[in-house]
Each structure stands twice: as C-alpha cells, then as structure tokens.
C-alpha cells in the first residue's frame, strides 16, 4: 500500500529571500551571460570597519553583475542584507555608483543598459557616517543620469527591506517590485519609536509596521509597481517584463504636482489609516496617477 501526500505549492517554490545577494543577482540574469565586477577575490573592502573592531566583508556587501536579462544588456547591483544590514559604506557606495555610471556610458554609446537594484538595506552605514551619506548622494545623482537612457528596476524582496537614504534612491527608480514580506520606508520603525515615543509608533507591532511599510500596502497605494510572491522565477519574470517595457513615460518622482495635490488633500484632523490611503492613492483605479 502506498500513500501519496500532495505537497502544497509553496514547498516546491524556489525562495528568493533565502538566497544571498550574489545568488539573487545571478538568478535574475540570463544563465551564462554574466560576470562579476570587483568580486570578493579583488578584496576591495571597507577600511573603516576594522578600525572599529568589526570584521569587514571582501565585497563590502555589494555585488555587481554585468550580463543580459531577456537578452538585453543589464547590470544587477545587489546589496547583502546579512552584512551590516545591507548598509551603504564608502566602498559599497562607490561600487554602486561606478556600476550605474558604466551603464550610462554604455547607454550613451548606443548599448542601452538597464540597471536592476536589489535593495536590502537599512540605509547609510553609521560606522562610515558622512562617507555613507555622500555615497547615497552619488548613487542618486548617477541614477538621475542613467534613467534618461534606460530603466532602473528596484527589487525589494525582504526581509531587511529598504530604508533610509536608499529608500529615497528606490523612489528615483523607474519601477519597484516588492514581495509581501518586504518593507519600504524612510525611517525604520525602531528609529521612529526611539525618536518620537511608543505612542507615535510601536516598533514591536508587526501588523502595524507591515500595514504601513509592507509591500502589499506600497503597491496598493501606488508608490511601488508590482507585488510578487517570494519566488525566484516569478521575480525574474517581473524584472524581465520591465526590462522589455523600457522607460516609463514619466518617472514617479517627476510627478511632483500630483503628489503635492494628494498630500494637500489628506485629512489630517484624525489618524489616517492605511486602507483609506490605499483607496485614495491607488493609481490603478485613478487616471491621474498613470504613467
């Protein structure tokens, strides 16, 4: 006698979240098409962390792969959330900026090169202070140049999420893809609680955090473009579709008047709840937010 137990679909799913930054980047590119730039054996690492008694990482937590996605020239820049919470230091910032600038140079020469950012990060690396802040300014400046030529696709998969200065960088990208597990926000919940008190934001309330910062909410309120399952194939397919779509007619961060109007129209006499924000900002049901 034999019994077969049908495994639920998620058992066979190939989790993207469980991959490290390098494997995530590899899983998005056409097999065999990529090579890594400034890899771990080049040992370009943070000079600042050892001075503070912290072991550095040989790629400074930033992986750059050059290759093709859906046969189109692409560069994938992935931050490793496991190393110093994916924070942006001098070296990881320089790698990201240089990769974006190379994509711009190639694009200007006629080889349009899409950038994919895998942002798993708490933002600036506090141990590197102003150098991290400067790095984020450089990343954003380079993004603004590249997006004149080719799309920038940001993927936030989780579980670190994307916070701080790199959340601003995410806002400059052409498209944002998120999972339900991912979060996107400026100040992280712990920071808000620490600065403004637990009455303002309870950082232990996971329901509250995900209702505000979570991927489902961010997509539903129209500040991110697509909600995907934590599935490497599904995420790769979403990235491919945006590579093929090319540049949007207008970038979200250019819709200044739209967002000014929306913010001005918010009723701040009471606490705004996440569901109301979804309904009033949802771009898919409102013509004004389409791009």
């Amino acid at each position: 006698m034999s019994t077969t137990i049908a495994a639920p679909a998620f058992v066979n799913r190939h989790s993207f979240i469980e991959l490290d930054a390098r494997a995530r980047a590899q899983s998005l590119m056409d097999p065999g098409s990529w090579r890594e730039l400034v890899g771990p054996f080049d040992r370009i690492e943070s000079p600042w962390l050892p001075l503070q008694g912290i072991a550095p990482q040989s790629d400074d937590g930033c992986v750059v792969l050059k290759g093709t996605i859906a046969a189109a020239p692409s560069v994938v820049i992935a931050l490793e959330g496991g190393f110093q919470a994916g924070s942006m230091g001098e070296v990881s910032g320089a790698k990201m900026t240089a990769a974006l600038d190379l994509a711009t140079q190639d694009s200007q020469k006629g080889k349009k090169t899409t950038a994919v950012l895998l942002l798993e990060t708490g933002g600036v690396r506090l141990q590197e202070a102003n150098l991290g802040l400067a790095a984020i300014a450089e990343v954003m400046a380079s993004m603004l140049v590249l997006r004149e030529h080719a799309p920038i696709i940001t993927v936030i998969a989780g579980t670190v999420g994307c916070f701080g200065g790199l959340a601003l960088a995410a806002g400059l990208s052409s498209y944002i893809v998120m999972t339900r597990e991912a979060r996107l926000g400026m100040n992280g919940p712990e920071v808000i609680e620490q600065e403004s008190g637990i009455e303002e934001f309870d950082a232990s309330d996971r329901g509250l955090i995900w209702a505000i910062n979570g991927g489902e909410q961010r997509v539903a309120m129209g500040v991110a473009d697509e909600l995907v399952l934590d599935d490497a194939q599904e995420i790769a397919a979403a990235v491919q579709s945006y590579v093929k779509a090319g540049l949007p007619q207008v970038h979200r961060s250019q819709q200044v008047e739209l967002y000014r109007r929306r913010i001005a129209a918010l009723d701040t006499s009471g606490q705004i709840d996440p569901l109301t924000l979804r309904q009033s900002w949802n771009n898919k049901s409102r013509e004004e937010g389409k791009r």
């Binding site: 890899g39 771990p40 054996f41 008694g53 072991a55 550095p56 990482q57 040989s58 496991g82 190393f83």
Partner: protein
C-alpha cells in the same frame, strides 16, 4: 577584533579553483579559499569576537586532519560557532573540488 594565522604544511595537494561562500552576518562568516602561493596551506582569520584562538585551532586541526589541499584560506568572521565554521569550510571544499 582579532587576527589569527595558522599554517598546515602537510596539506600539499595541488588545487586549481577558488571558492567564496558565506556572509559576514551575525553568527556567520565568509570563506575565501584559493590555491596557495607557497607549499602547504595557510589560514588567516579576522574575527569580531576576541579570545577564541584555541577554538579556531581545534576546528582547523580537525578540518586539516581530513583535507589535504594546498589552499590559502581567508575568513572574515562575525561570531560563527565552531559547528558553523566547519560547515562553511566543507561548503568551500565542495565548491573547490567540484
């Protein structure tokens, strides 16, 4: 932070490949394993956790009791336990000997 170095001169079998595994995340570490420039194996460790030199030596002694590749190993460590250290080393060997 502490820097540790160990030599295993009896590991002389020639290897040709490189391996990079692991992440310098809490309780984990990264291993860079590549062919040695000189005869024998050499290990350098940079760890955020001080005072565990004897534990590192014990794990590496056991590892090189079974592995004979002439490799240069560099480890960046953020507090991996001895069990995790051995798993990461074995994972690197799997890549290098594949």
């Amino acid at each position: 932070m502490e820097l540790l170095e160990f030599d295993y001169p009896s590991a002389v079998r020639h290897v040709t490949r490189k391996a990079h595994v692991g992440v310098v995340g809490s309780g984990d570490m990264e291993v860079l394993m590549e062919p040695a420039e000189k005869e024998g194996a050499h290990v350098s460790i940079r760890t955020s956790v001080n005072g565990f030199g004897a534990s590192w030596k014990a794990v590496l002694d056991r590892f090189f009791a079974r592995y004979d590749g002439a490799v240069r190993i560099h480890i960046n460590d953020a507090g991996a336990t001895p069990g995790s250290v051995m798993l990461r080393l074995e994972q690197a060997v799997e890549v290098i000997e594949r």
